[in-house]
Amino acid sequence: MHKMTIQKYPDCLRLQVEQATKINITECYQCGKCTAGCPLNGDMDIMPNQILRMMQLELPNYENKILKSLSIWLCLNCDMCYSRCPQEIKLSEIMDFFRQKSLRENKVNPKAKDILKFNQSFLENIEKNGKMNEIGLTINYKLKTFNLIQDVRHAPSMFFKGKLRLFPHKVQNIKEIKRLFRKTISNEGGSK
């Protein structure tokens, strides 16, 4: 049972989030409606309203917990929380911020590694082709996760239903796309 001394400090997570998203975290009065309606409340390790409470307390070890949580990677941005929040707090935007910060600071929860790798594979695919190519994406993802068998049985039927393209269809102005990636994610510019 350890004592927590609350020290308000200038660079706390709450202020960073408020600056990036313009959302006033103190408006949350912990009614819990977000968690009650979240489709993933059975799978998250920290509940959405708890994440807000942790920010409100401004305790450094709790802030680390948030960035290392599985919750921020499970969040689907379905916005059910935002649509029901009486104080109109856009949690999905805050979650985006946490995901980006957690990746930057190398704090991604081990259980979320597959989700992160899927997202990364997806973006690498877009950077290369401008549009998504399933086979390329799948191969890339499987190589990243070593999950070689998953979804393999879907592949033949997908192919025969015309849902899989064997060869990637590159977008004409692929240089433009590559430039956009360069200016934003590749140099870690463009993150808040």
Binding site: S83, E134, Q150, V171, E176
Partner: protein, 290 residues
């Protein structure tokens, strides 16, 4: 006046039948949307999960090139693309600083004020007013309309009037003679982009939706989003395992149902490309009395 067409990555491949049926219905009503030249991916959820600026600039590119090609309206049938494009539009039209930054990345000037039509808006605006002339069949089916998240929320980009119990799809499908049932899971999340990385979660969430639809008396489910379709259709084996029930309720795109009622043959609507058989829906067609 030409409507720009932005199919998005899914409609070109894994949800090809959505594009096929949409264009077939549009053509029947005399509308031929024109595909935007050189379009690229909107970034989907991967972009906004990993980088804020990329998440705006990728969809903004589509808005910019569509404007450059002279379109005033673009049709975006994929709900995820719709949400990304609308979100980018919201950002650039409400924040001048963001607007300028995006223009500098794209090396292209644009207003961002192009009208983005979701498939529902498109159907309401262009198809419903003339549907009576083309509908030749009635569908003897009890249909549950499933909207998913991205058409209903957030309020900044949604065009639905009743966010918890929308009726727009129902009003479009009224003319097909199908019975549109009342049910409670119209806007619950199907599991979206966790389809590949956390299939168990998708099985759970999509399973709840299918269970509720069936329990409310539905014989088929109609969707307007390729991601939802994939989760409810392709992932059916995983769902069946998760909910321990052998439910074979078919999942169709709203444009396929409209197409059937307009007498367009099933193969032109891509109805044989589904994982869960759509035979029952096709055989529920009854020719309308003159």
């Amino acid at each position: 006046m030409k409507i720009g067409y932005y199919p998005g990555c899914s409609l070109e491949s894994s949800s090809k039948e959505y594009s096929k049926s949409l264009l077939a219905v549009a053509e029947k009503c005399g509308i031929i949307p024109e595909e935007i030249k050189g379009w690229s991916c909107c970034g989907a959820s991967a972009a906004h999960n990993l980088n804020h600026d990329l998440a705006i600039v990728l969809p903004a590119r589509t808005l910019a090139i569509a404007e450059e090609q002279g379109f005033t309206e673009i049709l975006v049938p994929c709900a995820a693309c719709y949400r990304r494009l609308a979100a980018a539009q919201y950002e650039v039209t409400t924040n001048e600083e963001t607007h300028k930054k995006v223009e500098s990345y794209l090396e292209l000037k644009f207003s961002g004020k192009i009208k983005i039509l979701s498939v529902i808006e498109f159907l309401q605006k262009y198809i419903s007013p003339v549907a009576d002339q083309y509908i030749v069949n009635n569908l003897n089916q009890k249909i549950a309309c499933y909207y998913g998240c991205l058409l209903a929320r957030p309020k900044e980009t949604s065009t639905l009037k009743r966010t918890e119990d929308p009726l727009e799809m129902e009003s479009v499908l009224e003319k097909t003679g199908a019975k549109l049932i009342n049910w409670a899971f119209k806007t619950e999340c199907c599991g979206a982009s966790l389809s590949v990385s956390s299939t168990a979660i998708v099985a759970k969430l999509s399973g709840k939706i299918i269970e509720n639809a069936v329990a409310s008396g539905a014989e088929s489910i109609v969707v307007a989003c390729p991601m939802c379709h994939m989760n409810l259709d392709m992932r059916r084996p995983e769902i069946k395992k998760q909910i321990k029930k052998d439910l074979d309720i078919p999942v169709l795109f709203i444009t396929q149902v409209l197409g059937l009622s307009m007498g367009i043959p099933a193969d032109k609507l891509g109805l044989n490309n589904h994982f869960v058989s759509t035979k029952k829906v096709i055989s529920s067609i009854v020719k309308k009395e003159a």
